[in-house]
């Protein structure tokens, strides 16, 4: 085998190896999905969505309270986080000077990288300590803190991609700057911003660590914002590490439901964005 042949062989071997890396990594997604469907598919039934958890030892029951609790907390977090991220993003893209924008952008990226458990401690010190109770609000605040940097950066990114000519056209017609932003720039980027926000909400919906000592857990319905709340991710955790067979079954079902919702939100976001790109090209 001469030198050229050897080089070609090395090239082909290495390139097929990279292909194997790619398919190996992607296959884990199908492995995860398949395994969850296999273990949890049978347990996702009507009772799972309508009943309260049964005490250990008894079979049956569901996670209705955790589904509602998760929805409530994620909804509250979105109500706090989305407007702040959105308006902050408008500042970065439309008003920001150089230095301050750089700091805000950099801080947002760093905040995005803060381990979620640390954000949980933060929400605990700010809300749980003064109010002396675990609460849905503390949990929502911790999730909002995680959502703000994501929303801010994605809003900024999609506003920036709006062509300057659109802004100039509006300003030339005599519109003021905020009118231009509100009626021209933001509508042109709506699909992108919406996509970013859906992705952000999907990400915080699966977060568990910050909920452990803000929302805590609850086997029953919670009657207000000032007491521990059950959430789907925390339920998965506590049920999985429990020694009861029937709780494991419930954990798989909850895992399947949570993953299903997160993946659907991601696919939906992708769909909105690709439709937006298609209509812009047309």
């Amino acid at each position: 085998m001469n030198r050229t042949e050897r080089r070609k062989l090395v090239s082909n071997v290495m390139l097929s190896l990279t292909g194997m890396c790619a398919f190996l990594t992607v296959s884990t997604l199908f492995l995860i999905l398949g395994y969850l469907l296999w273990n949890g598919g049978r347990s996702v039934d009507w009772a799972f969505f309508t009943q309260l958890p049964k005490p250990p030892g008894e079979t049956g029951g569901g996670m209705a309270n955790a589904i509602v609790g998760s929805g409530l907390i994620v909804g509250m977090a979105a109500l706090i986080g989305v407007p702040i991220g959105f308006l902050g993003g408008i500042y970065l893209s439309e008003f920001g000077g150089k230095t301050l924008s750089f700091f805000v952008r950099y801080t947002a990226d760093l905040l995005n990288g803060v381990p979620s458990i640390v954000i949980g401690i933060f929400a605990w010190t700010v809300v749980v300590v003064p109010t002396r109770t675990f609460s849905a609000f503390a949990a929502a605040l911790s999730l909002a803190v995680m959502l703000i940097p994501i929303g801010l950066r994605s809003t900024e990114q999609f506003l920036r991609s709006v062509p300057t000519a659109l802004r100039e056209g509006s300003l030339a017609l005599g519109a003021s700057k905020w009118r231009t932003i509100a009626s021209v720039v933001v509508p042109a980027a709506t699909k992108g911003i919406l996509t970013g926000m859906i992705l952000g909400v999907a990400r915080i919906a699966g977060e568990t660590a910050p909920l452990l000592f803000t929302a805590m857990n609850n086997q029953f319905w919670s009657s207000g914002f000032n007491e521990p709340v059950a959430t789907l991710p925390v339920m998965i955790y506590t049920h999985a590490i429990s020694p009861y067979e029937d709780w494991h079954r419930q954990a798989w079902a909850a895992g399947l439901v949570l993953l299903g919702m997160v993946l659907i939100a991601n696919i939906l976001a992708r769909f909105i964005l690709s439709r937006g790109a298609a209509s812009q090209r047309a």
Partner: protein, 325 residues
Amino acid sequence: MATTSAAPAPSHGRAHSFLGRLRNGDEAAHLITLMFACSVLAIALLLIYELWIHSSLSRRQFGFHFFFTQVWDPIAGQFGALPFIYGTLVTSILALVIAVPLGLGAAIYLAELAPARLSNVLTFLVELLAAVPSVIYGLLAFFSLVPILRNYVEPFLKSTLGFLPIFQGPIYGVGFLAAGLILAIMTFPFIISICREALLEVPREQREAALALGATKWESTWQVVVPYAKLGIMGSVFLGLARALGETMAVTMVIGNDPRIKASLFAPGYTIAAVIANEFTEATGDLYLNSLIELGLVLFLITMIINAGARLLIIATTKKGSARD
């Protein structure tokens, strides 16, 4: 007298014109959005302040010894961070050792080789993989990865590579190896997507020049394209490291929760994030709580420093890429 009575007049005038500008709408919009943008800075500062204040008790009690003490004994009131720092570093480095070659390989395939359509589909699947919640990885690791490790992988490693100290000792299934593996699976989506972007930033001419000189496809990729994108690739490694260090749920479920330092990868250990997750709500006494919050502060600072470096590297590569185009 005269000066004091004259002073308010100009300030009143300024306020008037300021209000006038507010009425215009632009200034109001500017100020309101500025306020929201600055809320990010406020949150970050408040976060540091709260962690600092709430860990004061343990900082005063233990000082720097906190980082070098191996004992974690809540009953005796002795708290040392060393086993947790050790566990966090070992699991994260193990994760990177596995995830970086795999992730870089996959990124090369996605950026350089795969047909556009296939590459788009695979990239989308990688993004979905990055969106899978950490507790679900934990669920899978707890019920499938740990038994596989206990029954097949670890006995095999022990019988073949058992002469190495890292593959000795009793087999539990849970431990450093399980945590490192699940962290590797969780970090490679991030490594792939950032490496892929860094590789795509490399100008086309670089590849063409290498190929024109007679390099094979692999030589052009490995000796020209990858070195050109090396800052971005390093950035992705650091970002992956920061993710792995702070990862909580999946690790908590498979690490074994044993605050001792062992050389063996089969041994159960503990990480900073895991001990906070497990013991925070059960911590009795202020010193115990303060020690846990100080651990949180340590984790925060480590991930911040690594993230800051990674972001700078990534900013540097994208600037370099756009400047040469």
